[in-house]
């Protein structure tokens, strides 16, 4: 709660000191008096602390204010776009986790094999390459030259209740591949390196040697005994990254014209739509906080030695 309050206060201060939304809301031919009137109507003429207190009291009631641009409540506006972002982030994290951990285990078994050195070098390139470059390269290769994957957008979607999903149509899934890879690429490399480091440490432990000498099958040794113990930092990282992927997917969303909430955030920043920006940041803070709590719970399941009293 305190974290959220602090976040909201910082946002508010930043946006109040940069630019004046009333000017753009009054239209390009507005006179000075007309701009003043707009400011009055939207309560932007009130002192800063009154605006802030009003925002907080309304927010506690679940009302985050109306968007200056769309004139509809900001929260539903973001929630409407959230499914696209969550699906993108989920796909990205699944790709990152599966490939990252898989390749990490593979590499840790024979760290000096040529193939594995290639994988490690590739992961280094991945970590250092900015997302927008990865995205544009993928679009150019798969969308423009090979023409096997659509370069932008979300494809056809199916609406289930309030949730608009792209998982259920072929076009939706194919549209997801490039952006999900782009978004997950960095995370993949991080998880790979983390898994490899953890596995290499665990594999030298005595109990693993015992397991081998007992004649257990390699699968059992690697996955049940070694990986499970190496996985704890990896899971932490994945959890933290998932929150970040949801909150900060906007670069990928921009490049692929993905209709998610990150894209909305960018548009809102350009248009100085403060209620939407503040609500978005609060929401992002909330998501990251709750994922942190979830990760702590997962910890306990993975490693029964950890107990929260």
């Amino acid at each position: 709660m305190i974290v959220l309050l602090a976040v909201s206060l910082i946002c508010y201060i930043i946006f109040r000191s940069s630019g004046d939304p009333a000017i753009s809301m009054a239209g390009q031919y507005a006179t000075f008096q007309e701009i003043e009137e707009v400011r009055r109507v939207f309560g932007l003429d009130k002192p800063f602390y009154i605006q802030y207190v009003r925002f907080i009291t309304n927010a506690l009631k679940g009302n985050f204010g109306n968007s200056f641009v769309n004139k509809v409540p900001a929260l539903p506006l973001i929630l409407e776009r959230l499914p696209a972002t969550v699906e993108l982030a989920m796909s990205a994290i699944v790709i990152a986790f599966v490939l990252g951990v898989g390749l990490g285990v593979l590499v840790s078994l024979k760290p000096y094999a040529l193939r594995n050195r290639f994988i490690m070098a590739g992961s280094l390139v991945n970590i250092s390459m900015p997302t927008f470059l990865t995205g544009i390269l993928l679009i150019m290769v798969f969308g423009v030259y090979l023409k096997i994957l659509p370069p932008f957008g979300r494809g056809e979607t199916v609406t289930i209740g309030f949730w608009r999903t792209g998982f259920l149509t072929l076009s939706g899934v194919t549209h997801l591949i490039l952006p999900a890879f782009t978004l997950g690429m960095y995370q993949l490399a991080v998880l790979l390196r983390l898994t490899r480091a953890g596995m290499r440490e665990v594999l030298t432990e005595d109990y693993i040697k015992t397991a081998w000498s007992k004649g257990l099958s390699p699968l059992k040794v690697i996955f049940k005994h070694a990986l499970r113990n190496a996985l704890i930092p990896v899971v932490t990282m994945t959890g933290l990254q998932f929150g970040e992927l949801i909150a900060f997917s906007f670069v990928t969303e921009l490049i692929f014209q993905w209709p998610g909430s990150g894209n909305l955030l960018l548009t809102s920043i350009y248009e100085q739509d403060q209620p939407v920006i503040v609500t978005y940041i609060m929401l992002a803070a909330l998501v990251i906080l709750s994922i942190n709590i979830l990760v702590d719970i997962l910890y306990a399941i993975l490693n029964p030695k950890i107990r929260y009293d």
Partner: protein
């Protein structure tokens, strides 16, 4: 577990590949990609051209602008009269229906104009507040009185869209923002924010049903993605092609690239603040002559611009053929600076947006370098338009890059904004951010407000233009932009760009 996931992913990956490529589009439909997303479906809620352009398909104004010349033509009004300086009488078209079946009549016109002055739903409050009264004479005749004479009132009527009184009042503000109900050539189907807007032809359109039946409008903000959409065949018409990609597109045999000289001119606003070095006209002249505009057009705009000697473009009332650009001449510039006692230069900050005009940031960078060559220490300060424009309004700047064109084709309204002395009482000069002031010019300009005779207006506005641009150098004009579009060849798309950069689908055929 891991293997299973792997397997599933592989299957999805392989299974989807063949189905992806050719998405055939039916003959009477079109996919259009534009560079900025619609902000809302409320036709009065945004005066940005990007939004007005989309709304032009769902709604009609009393008048419209047609084709590549942008000529004013009747739309929902058959004709208008202007019996005295303050009165405008519009005779409405009969038998027009809104998309929900409601008939269009004088009540709707009154309602729409009254709605303009409500800041909660309108960005046209300036237009709304200039109206004194709206009188319904009969079902198809409306008489509008303005508070003071507005010679360009009818010229602006293509931007003021008519809404249905009944359905706008009965729905919530939020619903009206999402689902448009107009009289336009296309009916709204679906808007998935950030993805697309789908619309279908209005078969009962008063001008006859439009040739293309289904339109999918896709906003793509990122330039390279727009390029990918075009090259991969996912969009058939793209507006806002970036100049950097122009050469690549021209070489592509599947595409046709269309250039259209744009109405917007780019200029550097320069005030004459007392006590500043540039209060001296010789210094302003020197700055003008220090800038190599031909090189800007060639290197930065890659040839996609034409030099401008003034703010208005040729079809605008007030354009003066007699005004010529001062030649690029750094030697002369240095001489003038010396005469003015500024041979050691001075400091000035050039501000500009970095996300508004074609290559805006690069142009500003170049200008700073040209000024440095004659000894003027110009500092560069570029920022997003959302921060830049308020600073112009607040009059914080000395020297800035900005672009302009007047939607009414009459410079009267624009000059009150851009070069009239800043005057909060009268509401003039709100975009004269560099504090240019010339009392003589103000007097002549205020006199044009009640001047309706087009010939006389033209002469006076041309005079004002000359006074401001040539004699006083209130700004340094740079160039007129070009709009660049690209279409897929071989699909028989007939498209003629408009001067205002709107994409009006009823004007496209296939």
């Amino acid at each position: 577990m891991k293997k299973v996931l792997f397997l599933i992913l592989t299957i999805i990956f392989l299974g989807s590949v063949p189905a992806l490529t050719g998405q055939a589009v039916a003959a009477s439909s079109i996919v259009v990609a534009v560079d900025s997303p619609p902000r809302m479906m409320n036709p009065h809620g945004s005066d940005a051209d990007a939004n007005l352009s989309i709304m032009a398909n769902f709604f009609d104004g009393l008048m419209q602008r047609k084709g590549s010349e942008g000529t004013l033509a009747p739309a929902l009004a058959l004709r208008y009269e202007h019996p005295d300086l303050l009165t405008w009488t519009f005779y409405l078209r009969k038998g027009v229906k809104f998309h929900n079946g409601n008939p269009f009549n004088a009540e709707d016109v009154k309602f729409s104009f009254e709605r303009l002055s409500d800041p909660k739903v309108s960005e046209f409050i300036n237009t709304g507040k200039t109206i004194a009264s709206i009188e319904i004479i009969d079902d198809y005749t409306v008489s509008i009185k303005t508070k003071h004479p507005i010679p360009w009132f009818a010229n602006n009527m293509h931007q003021i869209y008519m809404m249905d009184k009944e359905s706008t009042e009965s729905r919530t503000v939020g619903e009206v923002q999402q689902v448009p109900i107009g009289t336009g050539a296309y009916k709204f189907v679906e808007w998935v924010k950030g993805s697309y807007v789908k619309m279908v032809a209005n078969e009962e359109y008063w001008e006859g049903a439009p040739p293309i039946k289904n339109v999918e409008l896709r906003p793509i903000k990122e330039a390279s993605t727009r390029y990918a959409a075009l090259v991969s065949g996912q969009a058939e018409l793209v507006s806002g092609v970036p100049v950097e990609l122009y050469d690549k597109l021209v070489k592509n045999p599947k595409l046709q690239v269309i250039n259209k000289p744009a109405r917007r001119s780019i200029f550097l606003a320069l005030g004459n603040k007392p006590e500043s070095p540039w209060n001296d006209i010789r210094v302003r002249k020197a700055m003008y002559m220090a800038i190599n505009e031909d090189e800007i057009i060639e290197k930065i705009m890659r040839g996609h611009a034409s030099p401008a000697a003034q703010i208005p473009d040729p079809p605008t009332i007030g354009y003066n053929e007699g005004i010529k650009r001062l030649p690029y001449n750094p030697e002369m510039s240095k001489k003038l600076l010396k005469e003015a006692g500024c041979e050691n230069g001075f400091e000035i900050t050039l501000t500009g947006p970095n996300d508004r005009y074609v290559q805006d940031e690069k142009i500003a960078e170049a200008v700073v370098k040209y000024l440095a060559k004659v000894g003027i220490k110009a500092k560069l300060d570029v920022k997003p338009k959302a921060i830049f424009f308020p600073e112009v309004f607040q009059g914080k700047l000395d020297f800035y890059l900005i672009g302009w064109f007047d939607g009414t084709f009459d410079m009267g309204r624009t000059y009150f904004k851009l070069i009239h002395t800043r005057d909060k009482e009268k509401g003039f000069g709100s975009l004269n951010g560099a504090h240019f002031s010339n009392p003589d010019l103000d007097i002549v300009l205020e006199a044009t407000a009640s001047m309706v005779d087009q010939e006389a207006r033209k002469k006076v506005l041309q005079y004002i233009n000359k006074l401001a641009t040539a004699e006083n150098i209130a700004c340094i004009p740079l160039h007129y932009q070009q709009d660049i579009y690209a279409i897929q060849k071989g699909k028989g798309i007939k498209f003629q760009p408009r001067p205002d950069r709107w994409v009006v689908f009823k004007e496209i055929s296939k």
